[in-house]
């Protein structure tokens, strides 16, 4: 059974290889092949899952060692897989949601002549993501980590003819690379500390070393997580990443890849548990991002960007939870999964809307769409309810638990974090309601697209609708299922679990959560439900304007890194040409000049030659005598 693990990755990888190298002859059938192989992976995942359930809780982890990757004196990197409950959760999420989105893309990308390559990239992503979660050592994880980065780069920039897309792709890759510095350094630290970087030994002997080392490792891992999961300060790429086709946003930039950071932290639980300082930083980053994303989400008129902000914020929740330690890990993962469902659903819904509205993304130009796309409306609505944590739906369970755990952190931190999470919940409710209202309610604010043909919204084709429905089901039922099926017990052997005791009763927390949610919804309703939505965005408060510009962090990056970097490189090019090269050329010129001057002595007059000889002789004599004298 263990040997099936490799197949999980192999199937989509094969798909990627075939589709990308296959050439035009696969244009007709390529997308089916891609979808099929993703599904195969899902099926194998289910089989393994069944097998895993059949075993006792503590020996559910499966291992498969393929071959030694990098054998060097004192340095051993294996291509080996480890499939435990945590990985399994991800495998199912990735391959499941992945498959659905493959199906969705069949319809969504129908009119794109490069659809085959799109599916190739999707398969590549699925393979890489599975490698990331199945690796049994950090270096192999790094492999998958970069692999998903590549896939994301390719897919964000899929419409390369759009300069904005190409730029966004480049930005995403670069920001992620900054994060990768963290991951590489973390691995190096592990190597110098433990002499290995395989999960087993490293995590087992985490206690053997100093807390300082562990803190360093933890912070480096966090840096990596920030890059991949778009956490402050490396969050800037996610908004631009919405340049990619919507299915990509749904799969990669909502459901799976961006949650890799959470996986990394939870996976490294033992390290963080032993490094409280690092944990604190993690929670802070999570909290900040949580608010940051939420605020940004409130101001965006671009539906996808609004959702992107929300993604950022939700992942903030997860990171925060992961930072809480044993009391939070499980709920971080739980929220991750439920979020995977409803956020993917929301994105697909958004895609469906755009599909019907000539790819218009500005919500101010939507309005009243519920009559025209009922299914989309319903699925999107369910996703909406889930994310704002409407009691009974998946989001409710997972988010509520996180808020509870945040309070349970104890001390002032506990209170602060709890407050932040509550506030976040309120804002979430606010901006999601805003999205909902602006899109599906109110009067039509439609406008002709660039070519002047008016939008005539319509429900999307089956291939797109079915995945939305399924995801909606997931986002409705997911939470409850987990709650009842004992998700905590399922993950506990891997992540460990300690029940947090909040200073206030769990019931109170729940009540508060619901209350703030209602407030948020109410505010949004007053602002967008009662009055008509202006087609041209009002100037808005300072905060609003800042939020529209992603709270100015992009301007900051541009000013500091882009402009500064450009000047730096320019000046260095100059230095290279003028100074480094100049010295050499200068020397050459100098010798040349000397030569020119010396050759003047050769003036063609015998007598001057004679003079030089005479003088030379004199010098010779003088020198000889001098030598004897001294």
């Amino acid at each position: 059974m263990d040997n099936l693990i490799a197949l999980l990755i192999a199937a989509p990888l094969l798909g990627a290889a075939v589709l990308l190298c296959g050439g035009r002859r696969l244009d007709k059938t390529g997308h089916w092949l891609g979808t099929l192989l993703a599904a195969v992976s899902f099926v194998i995942g289910l089989a393994l899952f069944a097998d895993m359930l059949g075993r006792s809780a503590d020996d559910r982890a499966m291992h498969q060692h393929l071959f030694t990757w990098i054998p060097v004196e004192g340095f051993q990197a294996d291509v080996a897989f480890q499939l435990d409950q945590l990985s399994m959760t991800f495998v199912l999420l990735i391959s499941g949601v992945g498959t659905l989105i493959h199906v969705y893309s069949i319809g969504y990308m129908e009119h794109d002549e490069r659809r085959r390559r799109f599916f190739g990239y999707l398969n590549l992503f699925v393979a890489a993501m599975l490698l990331l979660v199945l690796a049994d050592n950090y270096l192999l994880l790094y492999f998958g980590w970069e692999g998903v980065g590549l896939a994301s780069y390719l897919l964000i920039g899929f419409w390369q003819h759009k300069p904005s897309a190409a730029t966004a792709a480049k930005k995403a890759f670069l920001v992620n690379r900054v994060g990768d510095i963290g991951l590489s350094i973390a691995i190096m630290l592990m190597f110098t500390t433990f002499g290995t970087f395989a999960f087993g030994p490293v995590l087992a002997s985490a206690g053997e070393t100093s807390e300082g080392k562990l803190t360093a490792i933890g912070l480096m891992l966090l840096l990596a997580a920030c890059g991949k999961s778009a956490q402050v300060p490396l969050q800037s790429w996610l908004g631009d990443a919405m340049e990619g086709p919507t299915p990509v946003s749904a799969l990669i930039h909502a459901a799976t890849m961006v949650t890799a950071g959470v996986y990394l932290i939870v996976r490294s639980a033992d390290i963080f548990n032993a490094a409280p300082d690092a944990q604190l930083v993690v929670t802070i980053v999570g909290a900040v991002t949580l608010l940051f994303g939420a605020i940004v989400g409130c101001a965006k008129d671009d539906i996808k960007k609004a959702l992107a902000g929300s993604t950022m914020s939700q992942i903030g929740y997860m990171i925060l939870a992961a930072g809480l330690g044993p009391i939070g890990y499980v709920f971080a993962i739980m929220h991750l999964v439920t979020h995977g469902f409803f956020k993917a659903g929301l994105f697909l819904g958004a895609g469906s809307v755009m599909h019907g509205m000539n790819d218009e993304v500005d919500m101010r130009k939507y309005g009243g769409l519920r009559k025209y796309m009922p299914v989309t409306f319903v699925t999107f609505g369910l996703g909406y309810l889930a994310i704002i944590g409407f009691p009974g739906l998946s989001g409710f369970f997972s988010k509520d638990k996180i808020i509870e755990a945040a309070f349970a952190k104890g001390g002032t931190e506990g209170w602060i974090l709890g407050a932040v999470t509550l506030l976040g919940a309120a804002i979430t409710a606010y901006y999601m309601t805003r999205v909902m209202l602006m899109t599906f309610f109110g009067e039509k604010r439609w406008q002709d697209d660039a070519d002047g043909n008016p939008p005539h919204p319509h429900e999307s084709p089956k291939s797109m609708v079915i995945p939305m429905v399924l995801l909606a089901v997931g986002s409705v039922a997911g939470g409850a299922v987990f709650e009842l099926s004992g998700f905590v017990e399922w993950l506990e052997p891997v992540t460990g679990y300690a029940h947090g005791h909040p200073p206030i009763s769990a019931a109170a927390v729940t009540a508060a959560t619901v209350a703030v949610m209602v407030i948020g919804v109410g505010l949004a309703y007053l602002q967008y439900g009662r009055r008509p939505v202006p087609v041209v965005a009002p100037r808005g408060s300072l905060l609003t304007r800042a939020a529209r510009r992603d709270l100015l962090q992009d301007d900051f990056n541009h000013a500091v890194f882009v402009t500064g970097g450009t000047h730096l490189t320019r000046s260095l090019v100059y230095v290279d040409h003028s100074l480094v090269d100049g010295v050499v050329n200068g020397t050459a010129a100098g010798v040349g000049g000397l030569s020119g001057r010396l050759r003047k002595l050769q003036n063609g007059y015998v007598r001057s030659y004679a003079v030089s000889m005479f003088g030379g002789t004199a010098v010779l004599i003088a020198a000889t005598l001098l030598m004897r004298a001294v």
Partner: protein, 99 residues
């Protein structure tokens, strides 16, 4: 008198010849100055021969004269041919090749 004085004389003549080579333009005269230098050498040889009391120096002097004669032959041949082609015996005119 002290034969060493002849050495001083020889040195003096040699120097005069050398300086002559440096300052005179006419090739013939320059050449004469060289001859003067050679003869200064002869004087030195003879003087030393006298001082050492062996004949080598005097014999060398004869050789020197022969060599000088040979130089005259070759030298005049060249100088004359140059003079005929340039109508000038000035060594400064012969400066086609330089730098």
């Amino acid at each position: 008198m002290n034969p060493v004085n002849y050495l001083y004389l020889a040195a003096l003549l040699f120097t005069i010849g050398a300086v002559g080579v440096l300052i005179r333009r006419n090739a013939i005269v320059v050449f004469m100055c060289v001859e003067l230098m050679l003869n200064a050498c002869n004087l030195a040889f003879v003087t030393f021969s006298r001082m050492h009391g062996n004949l080598d120096g005097q014999i060398i002097a004869f050789f020197t004269m022969v060599v000088a004669a040979a130089e005259v032959v070759v030298g005049l041949a060249i100088i004359v041919s140059v003079f005929r082609s340039r109508h000038s015996a000035s060594v400064d005119d012969a400066s086609l090749m330089k730098l």
